[in-house]
């Protein structure tokens, strides 16, 4: 009697001690204040851009379209918290609307890149042989061309709108991801659980989806976060060169790039969009770093 109760208490102990990969990762993340802060800032900025504009418009009584010649280059004040731009439009509300576009482009393009990178990387790594050679040749060719040149050519071919930008940045952003995933798949391919699945007669597609994919998803997550930050930087660079999303649609990139013509009249037009871009990109990178610490078992102490 006492014996069996001992066994059951022991099994309970094991139960509570049991740790899953994702449980471990969550625990690690919760003990990483910098990553949590960055994540919180990103959530806040996303929420503010997507849900904030109507609220702010009501409270402050401003409209994103409202231009007024009398109110040009106003410094930050009670009425216009972040001042007004060269057409007398309220900068805060434009930054919020611009955040919608910039963040939407960042999220959508990096998810597109992740999807392509995962599919191509898994196929290349798992198939091997000529398929792998062809894919790797294609990737190394494209990575040899300075990325900005490709972006410039692509955006000059299609007149840039937010949707086009998502596709251009998404279709050019998967190379590094595919390379990383392929390397990981090559390593996984020789492991027992894959060999066992093969021996049981599972189809290659089933093995890729059920056995390989779950094991590379953590790398994809790290990579997609950092990629989202790079997309925001790329969007602002393209805007600066006049090949980003065109006016009057505001994005953080084109607001910042507009400001260089007016910095003598209003320094606030230079400072706020630039700070927002930097903070957002910084947070994406910090979250990426934090995820790497949490999801890569090798880096765990």
């Amino acid at each position: 009697m006492s014996n069996s109760s001992q066994v059951s208490s022991l099994s309970e102990e094991i139960q509570s001690e049991e740790r899953s990969f994702w449980g471990d990762a969550r625990r690690q993340l919760l003990h990483d204040p910098l990553t949590l802060i960055a994540l919180f800032v990103l959530l806040f900025l996303t929420l503010a851009s997507f849900a904030g504009p109507p609220v702010v418009e009501n409270i402050l009584n401003v409209d994103v379209e409202d231009a007024s010649v009398r109110d040009r280059y106003l410094p930050p004040s009670q009425e216009h918290i972040l001042g007004t731009d060269h057409l007398g439009r309220d900068q805060l509300i434009r930054l919020l609307y611009g955040g919608r576009v910039s963040l939407m482009v960042a999220y959508a393009a990096s998810i597109l890149s992740m999807t392509i990178g995962l599919v191509v990387g898994i196929i290349a790594g798992y198939s091997g042989g000529i398929v792998d050679d062809a894919i790797m040749w294609f990737i190394s060719t494209l990575t040899s061309i300075p990325a900005l040149f490709l972006l410039l050519i692509a955006t000059s071919i299609f007149s840039p709108s937010a949707t086009i930008l998502v596709f251009v940045l998404g279709l050019l952003g998967w190379l590094e991801m595919a390379r990383l995933i392929r390397g990981q798949v090559l390593m996984l391919k020789g492991q027992e659980f894959v060999l066992a699945a093969q021996a049981l007669g599972s189809s290659p597609i089933h093995i890729m989806m059920a056995h390989i994919l779950p094991n590379v998803i953590s790398i994809a997550l790290i990579s997609v976060t950092i990629n989202a930050g790079s997309v925001i930087l790329a969007e602002s660079s393209l805007s600066f060169l006049g090949l980003g999303v065109q006016a009057p649609t505001p994005t953080w990139g084109n607001m910042l790039s507009d400001s260089r013509s007016y910095f003598a009249r209003g320094l606030h037009l230079v400072i706020f969009p630039g700070t927002l871009i930097t903070v957002t990109v910084l947070c994406f990178f910090l979250v990426g770093d934090g995820l790497r610490d949490a999801l890569d078992p090798r880096s765990r102490k």
Partner: protein
């Protein structure tokens, strides 16, 4: 070593061929006619435009245009007036014989235009690369040596911020502070335009270089610092460092001979990507500081749909990247005696 280099160069050939195909196709996809400026010119008759089109080979199918671009057409007669017989001797030598074609807008050989601009771009990128690497290695090592304390935290925050800053914004802020407010440095350009003599004024040159080189170097410092810190931390954990310590070597000697040398190896591989990043970065920085380098040439070529010039620049940019990778490999071999070819 020579054999290895030769083999690597041979391996680069399929990549370069791929680059020529991809850039060629991309540019042909572009809507808009390079002859549009002639079409809309009232002085140009439709016949003259047609002649022009045939002479430039734009009436040919895509694969023929690609072939002409690659191997030339100087042994052929071109049928300019469309009557079925050749009229003009072809003039193109093709990429394989070092001819990248003529720029539409400048009407000059692409290679010559690019070669004229490359020194200006190198004058920004080479100092940026040297300063970036030197400062990055130093800061990364200092951060690793102080792992976990305040100095380390400051350097880490600085290096992540350096990567997250849009570099044209940094350039703009530096211009506002140092040129507009303080009047210490010129706003842009490569030399003082009020000087009429052609003589070389080193101080003037350096004054114009300070801001753009700082901005370009900033990004490199940031990324080299990150890699160097991680690399030093990894080396410190190794058994051979413990061995060195137990042999009673001085800390200075352990650091110079064992830690630094080994930690530098992964940094060498960063060189190729860093060079590629610099080529892209200089496109933007040249635009910010009105620097007459290759980047500005590319931008105007793209605005003007000057396809020979765009393709030429893409090709030269890619060639520089591949050279960067080769230099990485050579550095790797120099730093790591285990690697022999």
């Amino acid at each position: 070593m020579t054999a290895y280099l030769f083999r690597r160069l041979l391996q680069a050939i399929p990549t370069i061929l791929g680059i020529t195909v991809i850039s060629f196709v991309l540019i042909l996809l572009a809507p808009g006619d390079p002859l549009a400026q002639f079409v809309f010119n009232p002085a140009a008759s439709p016949e003259a435009t047609e002649r022009m089109r045939r002479q430039m080979g734009l009436d040919q199918p895509i694969h023929m245009q690609y072939l002409v671009w690659m191997i030339g057409n100087d042994w052929q007669m071109i049928d300019v007036d469309g009557d079925g017989t050749g009229d003009v001797q072809g003039t193109r030598h093709g990429l394989l014989r070092g001819d990248l074609g003529n720029s539409f807008q400048h009407n000059q050989p692409v290679l010559k235009l690019i070669m004229e601009r490359i020194p200006a771009t190198l004058r920004l990128t080479v100092p940026a690369l040297l300063i970036g690497y030197a400062a990055g290695i130093l800061l990364g090592t200092i951060a690793a040596a102080n792992q976990g304390n305040t100095i380390d935290q400051i350097i880490r925050v600085f290096s992540v911020t350096g990567i997250a800053l849009p570099n044209f914004w940094l350039g703009l802020i530096l211009i506002i502070i140092f040129s507009v407010q303080l009047h210490w440095l010129p706003i842009g350009g490569m030399r003082d335009l009020s000087r009429t003599d052609a003589g070389l004024d080193v101080w003037d040159m350096i004054r114009h270089m300070i801001l753009p080189v700082t901005v370009l170097a900033f990004g490199i410092i940031a990324s080299v610092t990150r890699y160097m810190r991680a690399s030093v931390l990894e080396v410190i954990e190794q058994e051979y460092i413990r061995t060195a310590r137990s042999k009673g070597l001085t800390e200075r000697r352990i650091f110079n001979r064992h830690i630094l040398r080994n930690a530098l190896i992964p940094i060498a591989t960063l060189f190729g990507p860093a060079l590629a990043g610099l080529i892209s970065g200089s496109v933007i920085i040249e635009q910010v500081f009105s620097w007459p380098g290759m980047g500005r040439l590319v931008i105007t070529a793209i605005y003007q749909r000057d396809s020979p010039l765009i393709m030429g620049s893409v090709l030269i940019g890619a060639a520089l990247y591949i050279i960067g990778l080769l230099i990485s490999d050579v550095l790797y071999a120099l730093l790591d005696p285990r690697i022999r070819f």
